[in-house]
Amino acid sequence: MRFTGNNKSILLVHRNMRPHTSDVAVDIMLTPQFYMVKKEKLPIKTRYRAQKIAPSLFEGLLEKSSTYKFFVYQEDDQWVFIAYDPEEIAAFLAQKGLSKEKVGKVYFAEQIVKLLDRPIMLSETEVLSVLDDTVVVVPASALGDIDSTEPVLARPKRSVSFEYSEKVLLNKEQAMVLAAIFVLFGLIWFAEGLRYKKNNRFLQAKTEELYAKYPSLQSRYTRESIISKYRKIDASERKKRKIIGQIAGMLFKGVTITLFEMTDKKYKVVFSVKDKSVAKRLEGLLKSAGLKKSAGSGPSEIIVEGRL
């Protein structure tokens, strides 16, 4: 028995169903033969909390060897708890020729309790009906004549799905957390990359601005030519001025310069000193300045010569 949904067919799954022969993927709706339901009025506001307490509600009712899962939803002022064993369901579906890979969404017949306005024939002996506000499978003989036309039912909003692999590395929550972390890092790195790119553009604009100010220096050849010309002059002239400054700093009481001569290549200074102590002090100053007394110096005259 099939109900036409929005995009996929819904296959009603019950113990006496016929083998499934089609390769087309389907959504399934489980009859109460495959789940256990409990309805409770509890002071719980969120589905998350209800899901947390679901196992305790079925304590002692479920087989310990099975791996049950729980589906919870709110119906009016009460919570509906459904316990089901995905492995058992998958094994049954496999027997009927429907591998779990072909199953999309899984619904529970209990979800349509308010929409089930008349019993549905499952087989010649079984009927899906509502008793005491709960969907149940009852013997057909108990209900007398039943309309066997295919009912059109709305698709429930919530559903579950099968875990496909027995050896699942990640469950859905873990996968989502991991994916969120990766996406977050990705976004941070991407934003950082964009910032670096913009920074590059900023530097480029700065260079262009400098070249706009000094257009003659745009050519590297011109720049290098200017630099090589002036660097030489700058170094030589700074050296000349440094030596003149050093010599001027050596003048103190008792010392006079009688001759100073400087060309592009060399310099010569003749100091006249008053006495020996002055000469000694001057020699000390010359030494600390890295200048040397020339061989032609006398007791009252110190000559300093050097190359530039």
């Binding site: 890979e101 976004l187 530097l203 002036y230 003149i244 592009d264």
Partner: protein, 133 residues
């Protein structure tokens, strides 16, 4: 249905791929910025040095500055010979203070000193100075 079977893994792998691609993008941009920065720093430093050297040694007002030296000394003590961008000065009988002022002034003008001779004659100084610019 195969994609659905592995949808969690596909989602994580996609996110990981995005993160990895973003990391590569960031790394490429970072290294590109570092290289560009280095190149820019060198280029700007060279440019600034060129501008600075040109400003100092290529000064157009050097002659005016030299003329001001001429005005510091009585004309009777100075012989001034200028040829194009070359200048020769001969100064006689300079008092020590005058000599100090002239030398200090000349050293602060961005000229190339070709020859500088200072000789003490009794209590005064004679000076010969040749420069170009």
């Amino acid at each position: 249905m195969i994609w659905k079977r592995y949808q969690k893994e596909i989602m994580v792998a996609g996110a990981l791929l995005f993160a990895f691609a973003s990391f590569i993008y960031k790394s490429v941009q970072h290294s590109s910025m570092a290289m560009e920065n280095q190149r820019m720093v060198q280029e700007v430093a060279a440019l600034e040095e060129t501008v600075s050297l040109q400003k100092i040694w290529g000064d157009k007002r050097i002659i005016q500055k030299l003329e001001s030296v001429k005005k510091m000394i009585p004309s009777s003590k100075i012989k001034w010979t200028k040829q194009g961008k070359k200048l020769t000065m001969e100064l006689h009988g300079l008092r020590p203070s005058e000599l100090n002022n002239v030398v200090t002034k000349l050293l602060n003008i961005p000229i190339q000193i070709k020859r500088m001779k200072i000789e003490k004659k009794n209590d005064t100084y004679d000076m010969e100075f040749a420069c170009k610019w």
